[in-house]
C-alpha cells in the first residue's frame, strides 16, 4: 500500500516537473520566435534602407523619368528570384518597353508580360491603353521558344511622379506561387519612396524655376536660351517686343520659335552662325548696332556650360539701344545748332571789324553814320553771343544743381509792368498789341532778376512767334493752391499736340518747323530751371497749330 502511494507521489512529482519543463521550453521557444521575428523585421528595414540609399545615390538629382524607372528596375531585380524584369513608359501614343531576361523564356512569355503591363496601365487610367508605336528592347539571356512556360506569377510596380503615372515595372516568373505579400511588399515601399524623393526634387526645381522665370520675365532686355541644336529653351516676353515679332494668337510667350527670331534678324545678322561661333570659340560674342525697322539693338551671346564644364547651349541677350542712339543723335544736332548760332554773329563781328580796318587803312575817313552802323552790328552780334553763352552757362548750372537764387519779397505786378514796357517797342514793330492784366499790387518772394528774365523770355517768344493779333500778360492769385500764376497769351503759330511734352527739353525736336528754326530754344529750358528752383511750375497750353498758345508759370505765395 505504502509502495503504491509512494509510486503515485513520484509519478505526480515527475508529471509536475515534466509539465514545468515543457512550459518553460514552449515559453523560451515563443520568446526566441518573437526575437527572431523582430530581428528579421529589423534586418528587412536595414536592407530596405540600404536599397533605398543605393537607388537615391544612383538617381542623384536626375529628373529624367526613364533613368529613374531604369534605376529602380535594375535595383529591384536583384532582390528576389525571377525570370524577367521589365518596365514600360507610355507617352502620348508611343511606348518604351525594356525587358531583362534572367532565365531563358519564350517570345510568347515576353508578349504576355507586355500584355500584363498594358492591362495594368488600362486598369489604373481606366481606359483602354493601346500604344500605336513600341520602342522595344530585350537584354540578358537569349530567348528560347522551346521553353514552353507562360507567366505563372508576376507583380507590377506602378511608378507615379507627382500624381502622374510615368511607368509600370513588372517582375515575372514561370513558376506558380511566387511574389506574395511577404516577398513583394518591400519593393512597393522602396519604389514609392524613390518616386516620392524624385517628386520632391521636381517640386523644389519647379519652385526655383518659377522664381527664375519671374526674374527673367521682368527684365526689359530680351533674353533667350538655346541648346546646342539651336532649339529654343527659354524666351522672355521682351524678346517679342524688342525684335518686333507680331503678337502670338494666345498670350503665351512660349509661342515664339527660333524661326521667328532668326526671321526678325534676317539680313541684319545670322544669329545661328553667331551662336555657333560663340560655342566654337568658347567666348562671349558681341554684335553691335543691329538696326531693325524701328529699333537699334546690341546682341550678346554667351556660351552656357553644365556643372562639369561641358557646353550645353547659349544665352542670347538683346539690348535695346534705340533711346541711347536717339539721344546721341539729338546731342549731335544740338552741338551743330549751337555752332551755327555762334558762327552767324561771329561772322558779323569779323566782317564789321574787317570793314572798319579797311577804312582805317585807306585813311579816307569814314562817314560817322557808317562807322556807327558797323559798331551797332558788332554790339548786337556780341550781345547775341553773350546771351547764348549765358543761356548755356545757366543750363549747365541748372543741370549741375548749382543754380542760386537771391529771393526777396517784391511786387510781381511791378516787375511784369516793367517787362511789358520793355517789349512794347518790339511788339509795335510787328503791329502787335501788348497788354497787362494785373492787380494793383501782387507781393511774392522771388529772385527779381531771374523772374524778369523768365517773363522777358516768354514775352519775347510771344512776339517772335506771332505775326498779328495781341499778346496779353495776366497775373492772378490762386488762393486754393497758395500761389501766384502768370500767363503770357499770344495769337501766334501755336504748338502741335505732339510738341507740347518736349517744349521744355534741351534736346527737343519740334515737329512744327517754324518754332525750331528760330533760336536755340534754350530760353525755355532756362526758364523751367528758374521757376522750378523757386518751387514753382511752368507749363504751356495750346489748342493746336496756328491757334495761339499760353505759357504759364507759378510761384509759391
Amino acid at each position: 500500500m505504502i509502495i503504491n502511494i509512494l509510486l503515485v507521489a513520484d509519478f505526480i512529482v515527475l508529471a509536475i516537473v515534466m509539465a514545468w519543463y515543457i512550459f518553460r521550453t514552449l515559453r523560451e521557444r515563443a520568446y526566441l520566435r518573437t526575437r527572431l521575428s523582430q530581428s528579421m523585421q529589423l534586418q528587412q528595414k536595414v536592407y530596405q534602407a540600404q536599397v533605398l540609399k543605393e537607388i537615391s545615390e544612383r538617381i542623384g538629382y536626375s529628373l529624367d523619368t526613364t533613368k529613374v524607372v531604369e534605376i529602380i528596375t535594375n535595383s529591384l531585380g536583384n532582390l528576389l528570384p525571377y525570370d524577367t524584369v521589365s518596365y514600360m513608359l507610355i507617352t502620348d501614343n508611343s511606348a518604351v518597353f525594356k525587358c531583362h531576361v534572367e532565365n531563358s523564356v519564350s517570345h510568347e512569355f515576353i508578349e504576355e508580360v507586355k500584355d500584363k503591363i498594358l492591362m495594368a496601365f488600362s486598369g489604373i487610367l481606366n481606359l483602354d491603353v493601346k500604344p500605336s508605336r513600341f520602342d522595344e528592347s530585350v537584354t540578358g539571356n537569349l530567348l528560347d521558344d522551346n521553353v514552353r512556360v507562360g507567366v505563372k506569377s508576376y507583380f507590377n510596380l506602378p511608378v507615379f511622379i507627382g500624381e502622374k503615372l510615368v511607368g509600370v515595372i513588372n517582375v515575372a516568373s514561370g513558376q506558380f506561387g511566387r511574389f506574395g505579400e511577404n516577398e513583394a511588399s518591400i519593393l512597393y515601399t522602396i519604389t514609392n519612396q524613390a518616386a516620392l524623393a524624385v517628386t520632391r526634387l521636381q517640386g523644389v526645381l519647379r519652385s526655383e524655376r518659377g522664381k527664375l522665370k519671374a526674374v527673367i520675365d521682368s527684365i526689359t532686355d530680351g533674353i533667350i536660351s538655346v541648346d546646342l541644336s539651336h532649339q529654343l529653351l527659354v524666351a522672355n516676353p521682351s524678346v517679342r517686343e524688342i525684335l518686333e515679332i507680331a503678337p502670338a494668337k494666345s498670350s503665351e510667350v512660349s509661342d515664339i520659335t527660333m524661326f521667328d527670331i532668326v526671321d526678325a534678324l534676317a539680313g541684319k545678322t545670322d544669329l545661328r552662325t553667331k551662336i555657333d561661333q560663340a560655342l566654337a570659340e568658347d567666348k562671349r560674342i558681341f554684335v553691335p548696332d543691329v538696326v531693325l525697322k524701328n529699333r537699334a539693338l546690341e546682341i550678346n551671346i554667351t556660351p552656357v556650360k553644365n556643372e562639369i564644364g561641358e557646353k550645353v547651349g547659349a544665352n542670347v541677350v538683346f539690348h535695346d539701344i534705340t533711346t541711347e542712339k536717339s539721344l546721341e543723335k539729338l546731342r549731335q544736332e544740338f552741338t551743330a545748332m549751337m555752332v551755327h548760332e555762334l558762327r552767324a554773329p561771329l561772322t558779323a563781328v569779323r566782317w564789321s571789324s574787317e570793314s572798319m580796318l579797311k577804312n582805317l587803312a585807306q585813311a579816307t575817313g569814314s562817314e560817322p553814320g557808317k562807322v556807327k552802323d558797323t559798331l551797332v552790328t558788332i554790339e548786337t552780334a556780341s550781345n547775341n553771343m553773350l546771351e547764348l553763352v549765358n543761356d548755356l552757362l545757366d543750363v549747365a548750372k541748372i543741370e549741375a544743381g548749382k543754380f542760386e537764387l537771391n529771393s526777396q519779397e517784391y511786387d510781381l505786378a511791378e516787375v511784369a509792368k516793367q517787362q511789358v514796357e520793355v517789349f512794347k517797342p518790339q511788339a509795335e514793330v510787328k503791329h502787335l498789341a501788348l497788354s497787362l492784366s494785373s492787380p494793383e499790387k501782387l507781393k511774392a518772394k522771388f529772385d527779381r532778376i531771374r523772374v524778369s528774365q523768365v517773363l522777358g523770355n516768354l514775352i519775347s517768344n510771344a512776339i517772335k512767334y506771332s505775326d498779328s493779333g495781341e499778346i496779353v500778360v495776366s497775373l492772378l492769385v490762386d488762393e486754393a493752391n497758395k500761389r501766384v500764376v502768370v500767363g503770357v497769351k499770344d495769337t501766334g503759330i501755336g504748338i502741335s499736340r505732339e510738341d507740347l511734352p518736349v517744349l521744355f527739353s534741351k534736346f527737343k525736336q519740334l515737329k512744327s518747323g517754324d518754332r525750331s528754326k528760330k533760336g536755340t530754344g534754350l530760353g525755355l529750358v532756362v526758364s523751367k530751371g528758374i521757376i522750378e528752383s523757386h518751387g514753382g511750375q511752368i507749363w504751356v497750353e495750346s489748342p493746336g497749330e496756328n491757334l495761339g498758345s499760353t505759357f504759364y508759370f507759378s510761384l509759391p505765395n
Binding site: 481606366n126 506569377s153 507583380f155 506574395g180 505579400e181 513583394a184
Partner: protein, 87 residues
C-alpha cells in the same frame, strides 16, 4: 440585394482590379491580411464577417500602403459606379 451582397460585389471588383494592376498574388495576400473577409483564388469575396464598411476601409488601407494613387483611382471609379454606398 442585401448590404452584405452589395459590399461583397464591390470588394470583389476592388480586389480583382488590384489583381490586374498589382499582380494576383500580392493583391490577394494584401486583402487577406484584413480579418473579417474570405476571398477565393480568383478574387471573389466569399464572405464578410462584421461591419462591411469597416472591412472595405481596411482593405483599401492595406492597398494604400502598396500604392496610394492606384487605390485612390480605383476607389474613385467604384464611387462613381456605386454612389449610394458608404465608403
Amino acid at each position: 440585394m442585401s448590404e452584405q451582397a452589395d459590399y461583397k460585389k464591390l470588394l470583389t471588383e476592388l480586389i480583382q482590379k488590384q489583381m490586374v494592376i498589382l499582380g494576383p498574388n500580392i493583391a490577394l495576400d494584401t486583402a487577406r491580411k484584413v480579418p473579417g473577409i474570405r476571398i477565393a483564388g480568383d478574387g471573389v469575396v466569399l464572405e464578410i464577417i462584421g461591419d462591411p464598411v469597416m472591412v472595405l476601409r481596411s482593405v483599401a488601407q492595406e492597398y494604400t500602403v502598396l500604392s496610394s494613387y492606384v487605390t485612390q483611382m480605383a476607389l474613385n471609379v467604384l464611387k462613381q459606379k456605386y454612389p449610394s454606398m458608404a465608403y
